[in-house]
Every structure is written in structure tokens, then in C-alpha cells.
């Protein structure tokens, strides 16, 4: 084996590291627009799913423009904040702010059955990482019209079940309020009672994810309390 001097090794590694750095930053910069587009489509797709419209990456944008017409941002007092694009609000960054400075996005949608629906994004913590989703409410701003959830790294077959239709569909028709008292929807271990309007079944083996999801719903939706109470009909 040829002997290499320390000097050679230093130069070799420096050149290697610089080459790799240039290569990777170049690739990241060139591919970024495609990746951001994918995330945007993914977001639109999830929102459509929360109002019961199945979308594929190919038609998500068209369907989004068709069904989700309007979006705006609220503050925690339920007042509309002007000049903020609801679609680009990053919930995770908002949640780090003081409550009265947070932007709360709302999307108005009108599915084919003529219902006027609002979509609220939610984000929280699962067992291994962030979980998020969209909850759509009927025009009484109390009954859940649909829900969709997603996760980064929950356990497949256990916590990861939150993004299956079977779990998400249990939320349909559940109520957020008892008259004017905010209850949210509870995820109940061992199964909810058949006539429980505030409860859905937890996932067996996915208790921590289920609890995280319950907390996510309560924390995120309760911020809209003022708006929901003021505008219900």
C-alpha cells in the first residue's frame, strides 16, 4: 500500500468535502421547486380529503380550485386578519408564538351536497414525531363534516393507523360543543359508546398517538372558539 503524507490526506479530504458540498447544494437548489410543488399538492389533497373528495396528485390542484374558494386568517379573538395568505401559514411556526399573535387559517369549501363547510388545519405531537390533519365543520360550526390526518413517523400498523379512512370516518357527525361549552372530540381507549357525540374509538396499540391526536384537536380547535361561537347558525 502506498504511503500518503498527512498533508496529502488533509488536501484530499478538503477537496472531497468541498466537491460534495457544491454537488449537494446544487442538487438541493435545482430540485427545490419540484419538492415544494409536491408539498403544496399534498396539502391541497389532504384538505380535499377532509371534505370527502378523493384526489390524486394529478387532479388535486384542479379540484382544490373548484371546491375550496376562499381562505382567510383569524386571530384568537375570532377577528379576520387582513393581508395574510392562509395557505402559506405554517402551523408549527404559529404554535411557537404567543396565542394572541398566532394566525389561525380557515378555508371555506363548498362540496357537491351544497353544504357550506369550513376547514381548519390542526397540528400536534404523536409518539415519534409530528402529526397533522384537517378538520372540516358543517355550517353550524359544531358538527364535524370530515377529518383527515397524517403523520411523519408513527408506528406502522399501530399509531400510523390514524391516516386510514376507517379511523378518520369515525369523526364524521361528531360534535365539538355541548351547547356553548367547547368539548372537542375525545379519543377513547377501549372504544366509545355508540351514542357518544364527542367520542371516537382509540387505536389499540396506538395509545400515545391517540392521546396526542386528542390533545391536538383540543388545542388547535379551541383557539377558534370565539369565531366558531360568533358565526354559528
Amino acid at each position: 500500500m502506498k504511503h500518503f503524507s498527512n498533508r496529502y490526506i488533509f488536501i484530499f479530504s478538503s477537496v472531497m468535502v468541498i466537491t460534495v458540498a457544491i454537488l449537494l447544494s446544487l442538487a438541493a437548489t435545482l430540485l427545490q421547486p419540484f419538492q415544494e410543488k409536491n408539498l403544496e399538492i399534498e396539502k391541497k389533497k389532504s384538505m380535499l380529503e377532509s371534505i370527502g373528495i378523493p384526489a390524486t396528485p394529478a387532479d388535486a390542484e384542479k379540484l382544490y380550485d373548484k371546491y375550496i374558494k376562499e381562505s382567510f386568517v383569524l386571530n384568537s379573538n375570532g377577528e379576520v386578519v387582513d393581508g395574510v395568505n392562509a395557505f402559506t401559514v405554517v402551523l408549527r411556526n404559529e404554535q411557537k408564538k404567543q396565542l394572541d399573535q398566532q394566525y389561525l387559517p380557515v378555508f371555506n369549501a363548498s362540496p357537491d351536497d351544497g353544504e357550506k363547510v369550513i376547514i381548519i388545519p390542526v397540528e400536534g405531537k404523536g409518539l415519534w414525531g409530528p402529526i397533522n390533519g384537517y378538520i372540516s365543520l358543517m355550517s353550524d360550526l359544531n358538527t364535524i363534516y370530515g377529518a383527515t390526518f397524517d403523520h411523519k413517523s408513527e408506528t406502522p400498523g399501530l399509531g400510523a393507523e390514524i391516516n386510514t379512512r376507517g379511523f378518520e370516518d369515525m369523526f364524521i357527525g361528531k360534535k365539538l360543543y355541548d351547547d356553548t361549552k367547547f368539548i372537542s372530540v375525545n379519543v377513547i381507549k377501549g372504544g366509545s359508546k355508540p351514542n357518544d357525540i364527542h367520542g371516537v374509538d382509540a387505536i389499540s396499540g396506538g395509545t400515545i398517538t391517540s392521546k396526542g391526536l386528542e390533545k391536538m384537536l383540543f388545542d388547535c380547535i379551541s383557539k377558534y372558539n370565539d369565531y366558531l361561537l360568533k358565526n354559528r347558525n
Binding site: F12, S13, L24, L31, F34, N38, P57, K152
Partner: protein, 217 residues
Amino acid sequence: MSTQEKEPMFSAKNVKLFTAPLGRDNPITIQVLGICSALAVTVKLKPALVMALSVTVVIAVSNVVIAAMRKHIPDRIRIIVQLVVIATMVILVDQFLKAFVFDVSKQLSVFVGLIITNCIIMGRLEGFAMANKPWPSFIDGLGNGAGYGIILIIVSFFREFLGSGTIYGYPVLEKLGIYNIGYENNGMMILPPMALIVVGMIIWVQRSRNKSLIEHK
């Protein structure tokens, strides 16, 4: 260029470099490497296929890069150099998947990143590319990637077919009307332990067909 040398491009030796890892020198069933990802990404055919392709690209390209530089890599930092090459390739592949096959990239999640730690790749770089020319190294990379991929595809075929009743997402059993006569999917097949059992069965079949592979104490 290796093409201008005496040895033809597809000499028997080179062809063997490709075929050996498919069968009697398979990285998963014989060398028992890369099991972790083989368990994780084989629930459905599509992610398994993408994973197989990704790993093949990473091994083949890394092998060529390392083989081309082999005389200039200082011995003392060779493992670091190999890791840098693998990591770079994996990040590039990951970025490409995120940009062009987003849904699959979501299913594969962390496992693309974990290709970096796949022992098959380190093994080929250290064991083959460091001592061979770029062209044979390329074939060796392709062969080992394919050997890994073929097991992934077999395992995911059975897991998807028996666990979800579909083949590459196409609901075969539903179309055949098997469910109407009381058949149900085996939910166990979706869970990771079944991947291990299926891999075990492949090993069993392979060794009972080729007795020379059986280790004697």
C-alpha cells in the same frame, strides 16, 4: 478506459460478477446483510421496487466512484471516504424521489436515508471497488443491487398479495370475487415479523435446492 483493455466488457468473469449475487452469493439470503430495510419496505410492491432501484443506483455509482479513485484514496481515511460517497449518493437519490415520486418517498420515509447504513453497500465498496477497476465494480454494484432487489420484490409480492389482496396496487382478489366466498386477507402479512418469516422461507427453499450452501458445523 476498461473497454480498451484486453478483457472484453462482458467476459465470463464479468457476467459472473452480476449473476453470483442474484443466486448463490445473494446479499440478503446468503450474506444476511441489509435485512432491516428488507423488513421495513416490503409491505407493498411499489415502495419495494423503488427501494430496490435506489439501492442499486447507490451501490453501482458509489462502486464506480470509489473504483476510479481507489489509487488516490489514502488508506487511513478510506472508510470515511466511502461513507462520504455513499451519503452523497443517498442524499441525491432522496432529493430526486422527493421531487419526482413524492408519494413513494413518503412511504419509504426514513428508509431512504438509512440506505447509508446498509451494510451491503459498505461491504461492496470495501471488499470489491477498492481493489478493482471501475467497469467490473459497476457490474458488481448492479449485481448486488439486483440481488438485494430481487429478494425485496419476492417478499413484497407475497406480503402484498396475501396481506392486502393486491398486486402492485391492483385489487386482483377483489376482481376475482374471492372475498364473496369468505376469504379474508391475512393481516399478519402486513406486520414486520412476517417479512422475516418470508425471507426465512426463501433461505430455506434456496438451501434445500442447493445443498452446497448449507453451513456445516
